[in-house]
Symmetry: C2
């Protein structure tokens, strides 16, 4: 057995004394193949360790059975979790996942310039804001796309109400009597990614007015959705003379980073400062972190299912808005 050369559909056909067409049908479970023939073919295929060449299948059928999952970064819990959930669902649906990292600072603009799109049946965008040109490229390709985390003109989306989230989180703090609330937003990893952060901030601002909270500009500091980012942002926030009595971080990782920064400043949570995050990261329960849970795993799964549906029926399947819930733990308390 030559290790270099694997067998082709022709080898199987020859061994089984049938045509390649029959082998193709038999192995793919298509109808109109005698059971006995099918069994014989399966046996031969097994013995020869035959595996269809995906490139040939794709070329011939026009279907690749793979979907591209496009993310701005591979780092951070949010992306890993959503990717894992999508991949799992896609695998169950019979699709491979091609993961593409399309950081905006990648001047090559992989999504547009590379021809990966031609090798793919569908696309899942995870919190990827698109430049106009990329969006057009995608639209022109006419392949199904679903976006997670934000609505994009022309594509189905799985997302949450980020404005409401920003409002609710702030309102929780205001309800506890806090008047000076610091906010750690998140932007860094994607220059185009203003949206999620901006919408949460808009919600916060609305609540800030509604509850007559302190309105200073230096109460809002940018993080980058990481623990380190949250840590540094917190340090900056704490430089102002009148320290906030509460903090809203736009992710749990930033919230925990901020918590560590508070600790390094000799501050206790929630005695000296209340902290609320967003996500319900698995570590949040360990910290006792109050947070707005957004059920990240289901985002990934739902998006995959939406795409699978699109792949089958190819008509519009609409959007999904996932519920969000406040989980109160021990990091926030009455001021």
């Amino acid at each position: 057995m030559n290790p270099q050369k694997s067998s082709t559909i022709g080898d199987v056909a020859a061994e089984a004394n049938v045509s390649v067409a029959t082998v193709s049908r038999a192995l793919r479970g298509l109808p109109n193949v005698a059971e006995s023939t099918r069994r014989r073919i399966e046996e031969v295929a097994e013995r020869l360790r035959y595996q269809p060449d995906p490139s040939a299948s794709r070329l011939a059928s026009g279907k690749s059975s793979t979907v591209a999952i496009i993310v701005p970064t591979l780092e951070g819990w949010y992306f890993s979790t959503v990717m894992a959930a999508s991949t799992t669902a896609l695998t169950k649906g019979g699709y491979e996942s091609l993961i593409i990292v399309d950081a905006v600072d990648d001047s090559a603009g992989r999504l547009v310039d590379r021809s990966v799109l031609k090798g793919v049946d569908g696309v899942i965008l995870i919190n990827m804001a698109l430049s106009d040109s990329k969006r057009e490229t995608l639209q022109r390709s006419a392949i199904p796309v679903v976006s997670i985390g934000m609505k994009i003109e022309g594509f189905s989306a799985v997302s949450i109400d980020d404005v409401a989230l920003g409002f609710e989180a702030t309102s929780h703090l205001a309800g506890l009597g806090h008047k000076t609330v610091g906010v750690i937003t998140g932007l860094k990893w994607n220059p185009f990614q203003f949206e999620v952060s901006d919408r949460r901030l808009a919600g916060h601002m609305a609540a800030r007015s509604h509850f007559s909270l302190v309105k200073d500009d230096d109460l809002v500091v940018g993080g980058d959705f990481s623990m380190v980012g949250g840590y540094n942002a917190m340090l900056k926030l704490m430089e102002r003379p009148e320290r906030p009595s509460a903090l809203l971080a736009f992710s749990d990782e930033m919230a925990c980073g901020a918590w560590l920064a508070a600790r390094s400043l000799g501050l206790s949570v929630p005695e000296d400062i209340s902290i609320i995050g967003v996500d319900d990261h698995p570590m949040s329960e360990l910290w006792g972190l109050t947070t707005i849970a957004q059920n990240v795993t289901s985002h990934g799964g739902l998006a995959a299912e939406l795409l699978l549906k699109l792949l089958k029926e190819s008509d519009d399947v609409g959007d999904i808005e996932v519920e969000t819930t406040l989980i109160q733990r021990s990091s926030t308390r009455v001021v």
Copy 2:
């Protein structure tokens, strides 16, 4: 312009008044094409937004320009970081990354049963212990493989000396005067994945003897390389009557989880218990966690470079052992 139908090499050839062969050569930068012809073809290709069909190229050339990155899970900082580093290096080298999650509990055994391997030029295994049958499948396929994190018979590897690491970490603790050292190992996410954890444990055991430390069995508890796992393991560890005065966790995430568990028990670090981790996760600096750094990013990059070399020269390129360094911070101190 029909949005459904993208142009083929034939369209470009027709427009440019040359044969498809010439278009193929021109666009791939091969020699023996007149500069003027090349320019004309490039222009037409641009105008028609021509993108070569990857499946067709693969089928015709036998090269796919994609490498499979196989991981047991998508979760956890270690995997994200290594994947990101590998992907970045591969992209620079002109390769796509196909990420395959091959959890062992996936009875389908994706690596073996699926034909993805036929669509791929090379494979990077990230901390994937392989069953014999999978290893054989890979070997038989004769495509270049490099393994990260552990040595696998027949493949190049990028790894660290885990035994030495276990010894060094323990010896740091022993040097501080600790006699009763708890250990949180890590196994869960991959039943076959005894190796890394076992080797570190072997190193620890050697040090345990060498420094005459307490040898009770209940001083070793299994985690799963996550914060939650570390948290629970710590709780278990602290049930024993004579509590350990120091803890070695086989990852920083577990170490931080254990730290939170200690906190929940009213214990301070390092006053009541010293903690040392492994990895040098970015959050470790924030915590002040002492750790053994293993430069995870470079693992991913080095492996990709090794593979790229293998892909070019196709002869054996050997293994790489990455250095490991103790970073002492404030979570460990004299007992």
